[in-house]
Symmetry: C2
Amino acid sequence: MDKVSNVRVGPLPNDSPYMKPFRLYFKQNGKEKNWDLVKAHDSVAIITLNKTRNKLVVVKQFRPAVYYGQICDYLNSVGSEVDSEKVIEMFPPKNAITMELCAGIVDKDISLVEIAREELIEECGYDVPVNRIEEVIRFRSGVGTTGSLQVMYYCEVTDDDKINGAGGGVDDELIDVHELSIEEAKEMLKQGTEHTSPPGFLFGILWFLTNKAQNL
Amino acid sequence: MDKVSNVRVGPLPNDSPYMKPFRLYFKQNGKEKNWDLVKAHDSVAIITLNKTRNKLVVVKQFRPAVYYGQICDYLNSVGSEVDSEKVIEMFPPKNAITMELCAGIVDKDISLVEIAREELIEECGYDVPVNRIEEVIRFRSGVGTTGSLQVMYYCEVTDDDKINGAGGGVDDELIDVHELSIEEAKEMLKQGTEHTSPPGFLFGILWFLTNKAQNL
């Protein structure tokens, strides 16, 4: 997953299906203002507990955006003379592997909980009926950039729900499924730690520890 | 703050200082890939408790990105025939006012905790020395889009730290300072609720309730 090479940066093509930037104009309290935005899909995420072992099921993947966040100051300092091999050596791509909740974008015309169910199959290999997936909370991610909705769910699975050969993502996705003990989850959230994970993951783990872990 | 009108959408100018989109190319496990990104500033956020009243100090502001997230399906459905007054009527801008932690972007060459200190003055009007601002956790926001770092702090303030006339943001910012009781904070995080807030805010509030609120 972290065998990454040949890193280079180019302009955003006008026809990018993933990133549609624009400017929103408006008047606020009588004053003309504008805000630069990017359109992003809404998404779902699922806090997943495997009851067979009482372990949280999470996913790990190389995140180009996180990698760029780590290398951008260096890239800017060297200008156009980027030596990809040197970048890789100075900034090991494995440091841009994130730990996240099972999640996916809303790009189909089915219910949000159905999308959550499909992501549990595609990313983690567990097939459960939607009535076992409970909604936790809804919020807006990227309030300064995308403002897209994320719906967070909680689901308990067992090894009996596993589909042989499923999980790890679809198409070109390279997703590792990982299990996290409750002790590891607590340790992870200790004050002073640094994560490649997004805040929604940290919230999901802390929500689980607060609301579900006591009874295990 | 929610007196918003004349909403329209235009292309992103090439010289936007806030939004720099591009494409990152790389090879992963032998396969050529790319990912569309937008460069965003790193940021700091401060979980703030006013000890004089044992209330959390949070900020509220109209977020154009959240508003766009709410109206974009409608805008797309009507194409170029957007009637701004109708948009405002159908989607009241007050629904895009977010509740957030005091926060700010890293756009100065001073330490992160110094930036946190300045944001506490500018947004909330409290002036505290940096040794009263403790680091909580570091994570990456927008792992699919920006990958920028956010450092979260915790700070206890009192009414004696208040600077007369400070707070509410600088330049054109319209930021309302709001106080949240511990009961209100608990209520807010109840299962099944919907927020305009970002996940970092929800994590910060839950972290506070878990780690700091018991002793009050």
